[in-house]
């Protein structure tokens, strides 16, 4: 069945592939296909739009190789609406005298659905390893991105029933990049708890599926480049809020009578239990508090957990919910998880171990397949430790001030996509003795990346853009893997650690609250 489909599709696309091959004979590679998740798709700052897709690492890489017909499933971008069903693009914006995260535009629909062949960028927001072989009929209700990118769910489509790996193979690429695996473990970070088979992929399942993916992509004369899973402890979502009470005016730790920072309060877990009869006890050092603790939530009346006082000792700040623990993720068998915002040190270790196990398998699989391995894990750790300095300009991983991550706190910025493309090019050149030109960083470093309409609206000016606009319910676990964010209606304002305090804050919150009415 699938073979006949493949043949049919080949016949349909043979003409265009032949033309492309002839025109690009001088290039090191004639056909490049990228597989992966939202990062590969070019998703950043909460949305997948062509402004970001044009800066995706596959797009940059294709440009450097000289491939002219590199096709991505481009999504349009439109003015910000109040429709909560539409994905919103985020930017850092001015809120009073702070910088927060706000929605600035809408992600609109795909623009080139009629492309009569698979896309060259088959990155699918939300995809885990198994999706690359199992997602043969994408359900738009389950993952609208997958449906729009794969176009394999309709019996009338020439791509019907073809998985991402099969679609890639159909294009007969001589270069394939594969960057998958983050979504096999990321759920644990988002939920504050890891439960295999519920929010993470069991290791044996991952190994079987990953091997199947690589096997399906391996072909004679084809160069396969594999990137491993980055260190999830490095993403701003998990690293921005320290496990101690911060002074909202300075963003510096509040010091207790002993001169030490005052830990936030959590419910404890099996490894770090609270004393008997105590519902909230200090978080041990090394606990990660996710940005979920700072995001306004509809269920909390537009407030955030920390904003209401969860996790904050009443002796420090008599907030309404002070003295109550920040929630940790809990598992309610058989398949339910109540998300939390805490990763206790043992949970961090378990997640790190899983990432390590995944990467060990990726490395051995890559080696067996003769693939070029790009160690994204180590590279990102180095950037976290030292920054990435190019021409005297240093990119860092800190949220909002570093430049490496986009406004959603998860996904790499356009700058980082160029860095990734550069790392891949250097790896290919070293392994193959090629001289694919490295990309130009000047443009991506110094050219503002704003939605076109926001430029006209004067983004950055506190008196415009923000009025009447929505703040996002950022980092709400309810809907996401590495894909998108939920919106909600009503007045909201950013709190604490998500904002950068510029100066004295007197009146700032009131001002932003007034404007959001």
């Amino acid at each position: 069945m699938k073979k006949s489909l493949l043949h049919r599709a080949c016949a349909a696309f043979a003409g265009s592939v032949l033309v492309a091959t002839t025109a690009l004979a001088a290039n090191a590679f004639q056909k490049y296909v990228a597989l992966g998740d939202s990062i590969t798709a070019g998703y950043q700052a909460g949305c997948l739009v062509m402004r970001h897709q044009d800066r995706s690492y596959p797009s940059v890489l294709a440009g450097q190789i000289g491939i002219a017909d590199f096709e991505q499933p481009l999504f349009a971008e439109g003015p910000l609406s109040n429709n909560p069903a539409i994905e919103k693009c985020l930017c850092f914006v001015v809120v009073g005298n702070s910088i927060g995260v706000g929605a600035v535009s809408d992600q609109l629909g795909p623009t080139n659905l009629a492309l009569p062949r698979p896309y060259d960028n088959l990155g699918i927001p939300g995809a885990a390893s198994f999706d690359l072989v199992d997602l043969t009929v994408a359900d738009p209700n389950a993952n609208p991105y997958a449906a729009a990118i794969l176009r394999n769910g309709s019996a009338g489509s020439p791509l019907y029933g073809l998985s991402p790996v099969q679609q890639a193979d159909l294009l007969s690429p001589d270069l394939v990049t594969l960057w998958i695996g983050a979504n096999d473990i990321l759920g644990a970070v988002l939920d504050g708890i890891q439960v295999d088979g519920v929010n993470t992929t069991p290791l044996d399942v991952f190994q079987a599926k990953y091997a199947e993916v690589v096997n399906g992509l391996t072909a004679a004369g084809r160069t396969l480049v594999i990137l491993n899973v980055p260190d999830l402890r490095v993403i701003p979502f998990a690293t921005t809020i320290p496990p101690v009470v911060l002074d909202p005016n300075t963003n510096q730790p509040v010091l207790g009578p002993d001169g030490n920072p005052i830990p936030l309060l959590g419910p404890g877990n099996a490894t770090y239990p609270c004393p008997a009869g105590v519902a909230a006890c200090p978080l041990p050092a090394g606990t990660l508090v996710t940005l979920g603790a700072e995001s306004p939530q509809a269920a909390l009346g537009g407030q955030s957990l920390l904003g209401l006082g969860f996790g904050i000792p009443c002796a420090v700040a008599p907030l309404p919910m002070c003295g109550n623990p920040l929630p940790d993720g809990t598992f309610i068998p058989p398949m339910t998880i109540a998300p939390g915002v805490l990763l206790y040190p043992d949970e961090v270790s378990a997640i790190s171990q899983r990432v390590s196990d995944i990467n060990t398998f990726i490395a051995s699989t890559a080696s067996s397949a003769g693939a070029i391995l790009v160690d994204a894990f180590t590279f990102l750790d180095q950037v976290k430790a030292n920054g990435y300095t190019i021409g005297g300009v240093t990119v860092e991983t800190t949220f909002a001030t570093g430049g490496a991550f986009s406004a959603d706190g998860f996904h790499p910025s356009g700058i980082s996509h160029t860095i990734v493309a550069d790392q891949i090019i250097q790896a290919i050149n070293a392994a193959k003795g090629l001289s694919i030109p490295r990309p130009d960083f000047s443009g991506v470093l110094f050219t503002p990346d704003l939605p076109p309409q926001a430029v006209g609206a004067g983004i950055g000016n506190p008196e415009t853009l923000w009025d009447g606009r929505q703040l996002l319910e950022l980092f709400d676990r309810s809907s996401m893997r590495l894909d998108g964010f939920e919106l909600f209606d009503g007045p909201h304002r950013p709190r604490g650690g998500v904002t950068i305090v510029v100066g004295p804050r007197s009146g700032g919150d009131e001002a932003s609250a007034d404007r959001s009415h």
Partner: protein
């Protein structure tokens, strides 16, 4: 404490005479070897010739055969003929260009020879052996400004020496070398602007120091052997020294027009002049030469010069009174740069033809760079150099005037692959040095 101050007063007079000026970098590294007009005419192969007052610099043992009280005043005029940069991917990108500031540097020299006995001579020299002037035009359009827009090293050596002619064929010499110096570095800083998801040029920092505050004593020795009147062998050595600099850092904000970003930058930018310290290791050097009069009135000289540039291993700049100022970036703001220079050799050839009181000279040398390619950048991009020299002079027993010109071609330096600055492209540079010396002997 008193003695250095006195010495500095002496130097003050030299400064007033225009001695103290910024100098461009050459020969290789940031050493300047054009300290005499006759030597320059002969390809700087002078360690075994050294028969005029400039011997104080080239080989003080050459004073051993000089029987008269002599003074030599001179100056070199160093002109950067070309100095440009063509950028490449990944940064600053194909098609980007930069231009070095073109100017003429004037570097005066002063030498005095005072015979004390028939065998012992006192010499005093003042010259600038080390200097760097690597300045880029373009202000905020110079693509390398986040690394350096202006790097300056100035120094003046005051070098008293004593020579002793042991036998009619052998002389030795030794001296003290008091060096005062200053460094200056200017660059811009880029800050990530979250409101535009791009970097902006947000501040300018100027690190400066006074030449009167930074000094060090070193020493030099030399030996010259003349087994026959027409043959000479010379060797000279000048010690290494490390100067620890103190100075000031001045931060100036570059307004972006975005009030929020500007406020963030302003809140982080140090105000006023802040202390800055750094240290530069100046290399030891050794000059080994032979010269011979191969025909009547024709002298040829060969020389090999070694410079201990491995002394210059790092460039660390700390800000002792700023938070994180003594911790290397990224955790602190201290600049810690590994330079990893290597010892280098230069090979020189020169010839002088005497025609009565007139002399014609020419020479040629190659000078290997001590700088690894990875270290080449906007602060200094050095490479192997080839020098072509020509000179002439008119000399009597009582006075003489000598002129020379040196055309120095620096091999284009292309930075690709490894780069400390992650700054790629090709540097092109050529330099002309005109020099004169005016000697009076009594």
């Amino acid at each position: 404490m008193i003695r250095p101050r006195r010495v500095r007063h002496v130097l003050g007079g030299l400064v007033a005479a225009g001695l103290l000026v910024a100098a461009p970098a050459f020969p290789a590294g940031f050493e300047i070897f054009t300290q005499g007009a006759r030597a320059t005419g002969m390809g700087l192969a002078f360690a075994a010739v050294a028969d005029d007052p400039t011997a104080i610099f080239y080989n003080p043992a050459g004073l051993g055969w000089q029987q008269h009280f002599s003074v030599e005043l001179g100056s070199s005029f160093i002109t950067k003929l070309s100095g440009d940069f063509h950028g490449a991917n990944p940064f600053p990108g194909d098609g980007t260009v930069g231009d070095q500031h073109k100017t003429t540097f004037v570097l005066p020299t002063f030498y005095l020879v005072l015979p004390l006995t028939n065998e012992i001579n006192l010499g005093i020299g003042a010259f600038s052996q080390y200097g760097l002037g690597y300045r880029w035009d373009g202000g905020e359009s110079w693509v390398g400004r986040f690394i350096s827009s202006n790097a300056v090293i100035k120094s003046v050596d005051l070098n008293p020496v004593l020579s002793w002619r042991l036998t009619p064929q052998i002389a030795i010499a030794g001296g003290a070398d008091y060096r005062i110096s200053m460094v200056q570095l200017e660059k811009d800083n880029a800050t990530y602007d979250p409101l535009t998801d791009s970097f902006a040029d947000t501040s300018h920092v100027k690190l400066d120091s006074s030449i009167w505050d930074n000094h060090k004593w070193g020493w030099n020795v030399g030996i010259m052997i003349r087994p026959a009147p027409e043959f000479s062998v010379g060797a000279a050595y000048r010690s290494a020294m490390t100067i620890n600099y103190t100075g000031t850092a001045t931060f100036t904000q570059n307004l972006t027009g975005d009030p929020v970003l500007d406020a963030i930058v302003a809140s982080k930018l140090p105000v006023g002049k802040r202390a800055v310290t750094t240290s530069i290791g100046f290399p030891a050097s050794m000059n080994l030469g032979i010269s011979s009069t191969i025909a009547q009135n024709t002298t040829i000289a060969l020389e090999a010069d070694w410079t201990e540039w491995s002394k210059f291993q790092s460039l660390n700049i700390s800000f002792p009174d700023l938070p994180g100022g003594t911790t290397c970036a990224p955790n602190g703001i201290m600049v810690c740069r590994q330079t990893n220079w290597k010892d280098s050799w230069a090979y020189r050839f020169g010839v002088e033809q005497k025609l009565g009181k007139w002399s014609l000279r020419t020479g040629f040398y190659i000078d290997k760079t001590p700088q690894p390619a990875a270290d080449a950048g906007p602060i200094l991009a050095d490479n192997d150099r080839t020098g072509y020299t020509f000179g002439f002079g008119y000399n009597t027993d009582h006075w003489g005037i000598n002129l020379a010109d040196l055309y120095l071609k620096v091999k284009d330096r292309t930075v690709a692959g490894e780069s400390t600055d992650n700054f790629f492209g090709t540097y092109h540079e050529s330099v002309n040095i005109a020099i004169f010396g005016l000697r009076f002997s009594f």
